[in-house]
Symmetry: C2
Subunit: 416 residues, 2 copies
């Protein structure tokens, strides 16, 4: 039950976009260009229109940021501003005599009549590898159970740089990548469409404040630099990756596309869902030690829909499964003086749980294709087929107070 704030708008109880959430995104409609919006129930609050109606006049915000094609400039105004905006929107949506009730027709846009866009210009994208279960699963498959974790894994949040140009918003189809692979037993590599296309269930945090080259962000300061989070599907071609990745890491096996959910859920909205992370043993070096609760209880699920079939859930996991939390990730990323910029994305790495049906990739769910998934219509899947649609959803829920991420949905098209 939502006991704190009631809105005059009819919001379905199962909606990800309760009055407590108010995530930011960029949308357009047939009539209007790109602009900033906030999801509420089945609607979007049009921030450009609200600004034109004067609802932010007393907040001394340069409301031009709401008419831009990305949220970077809005986010750059800082957390005090985004907090004020969220508070004002909560007022407008809860006051019985809210002026918004009169302006509804113009200020509220049905989500089904809007198109969502990439909410950010992403400067740099980093992918961590912070789920112990995922790293152990993948390591076991490729190096055996005894050597599953590399010696560095429990000492630092392992990560690598990904490609920013190919990050797309939910709904954007991705073509199956072509590339080199080395078939088992072959003497020469072959070229062709990937035969082992996979998703990776991840979340990513959005940098909300620039740091300076040469300086570091401590674990204590880290959350000041984090604006919010999105769902992240780190598409992977396992056959391409396996052949190319030694010694410098993943490249073409990853950079053909990554998909994000369109709504950025702020850290403030996630406040009630904080929890402690797993015990870290051995104890990390001091720059990685942080007190308090920095993991978040966000239920996650992946569903797969074949071309002519029904969508079915194939994995259920949770963001709380991360061994290294977002503050540790950011402190590590900048300990060497690397600078971050507003709009940068830092993905978690695949979020697998302990149970077999909580694994966050086909690689793990089918144990590298050895145990194909059986779909409801009788089809089997070792990896992802052309025309399959993969959707990821995520939400936090505590005593009926729900804050959700919506979804990131991607259809795979044949290689060009």
């Amino acid at each position: 039950m939502n006991t704190e704030k009631k809105t005059w708008l009819d919001i379905p109880e199962s909606s990800d976009f309760s009055i407590h959430n108010l995530p930011f995104g960029i949308f357009s409609t047939i009539e209007g260009g790109y602009r900033a919006g906030v999801a509420i129930g089945d609607y979007i609050m049009d921030l450009k229109v609200l600004a034109e109606y004067g609802h932010f006049n007393d907040l001394s915000i340069d409301t031009a940021v709401f008419s831009q094609s990305v949220l970077n400039d809005f986010i750059r105004l800082g957390k005090p501003v985004s907090r004020q905006v969220r508070q004002r929107l909560q007022q407008l949506m809860t006051q019985e005599d809210s002026p918004l009730r009169q302006d509804q027709a113009k200020a509220l846009v049905l989500q089904k009549e809007a198109t969502m866009h990439m909410p950010l210009a992403v400067g740099d994208y980093t992918d961590f590898y912070s789920s112990l279960e995922h790293a152990t699963n993948v390591g076991s498959m490729f190096r055996g159970k005894e050597n599953a974790l590399m010696p560095n894994w429990k000492h630092l949040p392992v990560a690598y740089h990904g490609r920013a140009s190919s990050i797309v918003v939910s709904g954007t189809p991705i073509h199956r990548p072509k590339g080199q692979s080395m078939p088992a037993g072959a003497e020469k590599p072959v070229m062709g469409p990937s035969k082992a296309l996979d998703f990776e269930l991840e979340m990513a945090f959005v940098i909300g404040k620039d740091s300076q080259l040469g300086s570091s962000i401590t674990v204590e300061e880290a959350e000041e630099y984090i604006f919010g989070l999105v769902l992240f599907n780190d598409w992977s071609a396992r056959d391409i990756q396996k052949w190319e990745y030694v010694p410098l890491g993943p490249f073409l096996g990853k950079n053909f596309g990554s998909s994000i959910s369109p709504w950025i859920v702020t850290l403030e909205a996630l406040e009630p869902y904080r929890m402690a992370g797993p015990v870290q043993q051995p104890e990390p070096l001091s720059y990685l030690q942080n007190k308090g609760k920095h993991n978040f209880d966000v239920a996650l699920e992946v569903s797969l829909q074949p071309a002519k079939g029904e969508a079915q859930v194939i994995a259920r996991s949770n963001f709380k499964n991360m061994y290294w939390n977002i503050c540790q990730q950011l402190a590590h990323h900048t300990v060497n003086g690397c600078n971050v910029r507003v709009g940068d994305l830092m993905a978690s790495g695949t979020l697998s749980g302990k149970a077999q049906d909580s694994y966050g990739s086909m690689l793990e769910l089918t144990w590298n294709g050895e145990r194909p998934l059986h779909l409801a219509d009788g089809q089997e899947r070792a990896f992802i087929h052309d025309h399959d649609t993969v959707s990821m959803r995520g939400y936090a829920d505590k005593e009926g107070r729900r804050v959700g991420f919506g979804e990131v949905r991607t259809k795979i098209l044949p290689a060009l």
Copy 2:
């Protein structure tokens, strides 16, 4: 001898910036803001002023691109436009009755009175690993001579994604990075300033045309997408890198900073210096086979200047040493559908030659510190010290026709 074109300006014969070069950059002066310029001898042609004087009026260019703080929008106009601009500048600098001779005082700025800036907004930065000699040296050190090259190396141009945010222009000091490393024989990692700070002598090409996600650029088309080249110093902390890089590649060992030269030398200016690359055996897969000359004869050198000492050359190499050429690199990068954007940088990887004094990193020059360099003043160097300045220079020269890159110079400051 410069037999083709004579300019009325006095250009020293040893200048990198002959009438044949005309590289593009971004500069400012005490009086004026950021703007585009072209280097000529000891001067910069101020493109903003030349546009104001009407010298590009008949070329139907939106000359607002010359008043911006980066060259991306100018480059995006396409090669026909940048070629026209270079031709116009050559006319203006060679005609005896050039109107520019009158406007000289305003249109020509002494380089020593200007500050150079990052010429590009870099969307993504990729680092290749395309020198056979470098890969063999590094592989020998870490895995022994027999296993020096990984099985994939001669089949594809190995690469990884780097960090765009920390790329800085020549002259910007970089702080020694701090980070985790695992000392030999230790049981636990330690944290502190890197003890193995290194440079990497590289060149990087600049993407001049966007490609579409899902589509590929062929080896034949590749040069249409390449605007020009810069010198690139891929700073590396070997101790940090060694501990972190398994299994996902270099991260904090690299992303604390990379330095580029300020002038982008166009592919057109490098035309006379083309040459064939090394024979590639085994024959690459067909998408990597290209005919014609796609390597470039660019002499490179690295010098090291201690805090109170003289600069001295410590390595001489050549861009022609690349095994995989820039067309192969770009075709490989996009074969999976990865898109590129104007301003992206693609670095070559360390450009080592066969001779010991042609190695492009301290790691190789001192063989991982085993054979320290002896500097003229008696000091030794295994790796780079605080307050050392590393400079890289590069130029092509054929029958007295010289096209140079200027330099990328970086001073290392102590860790913060």
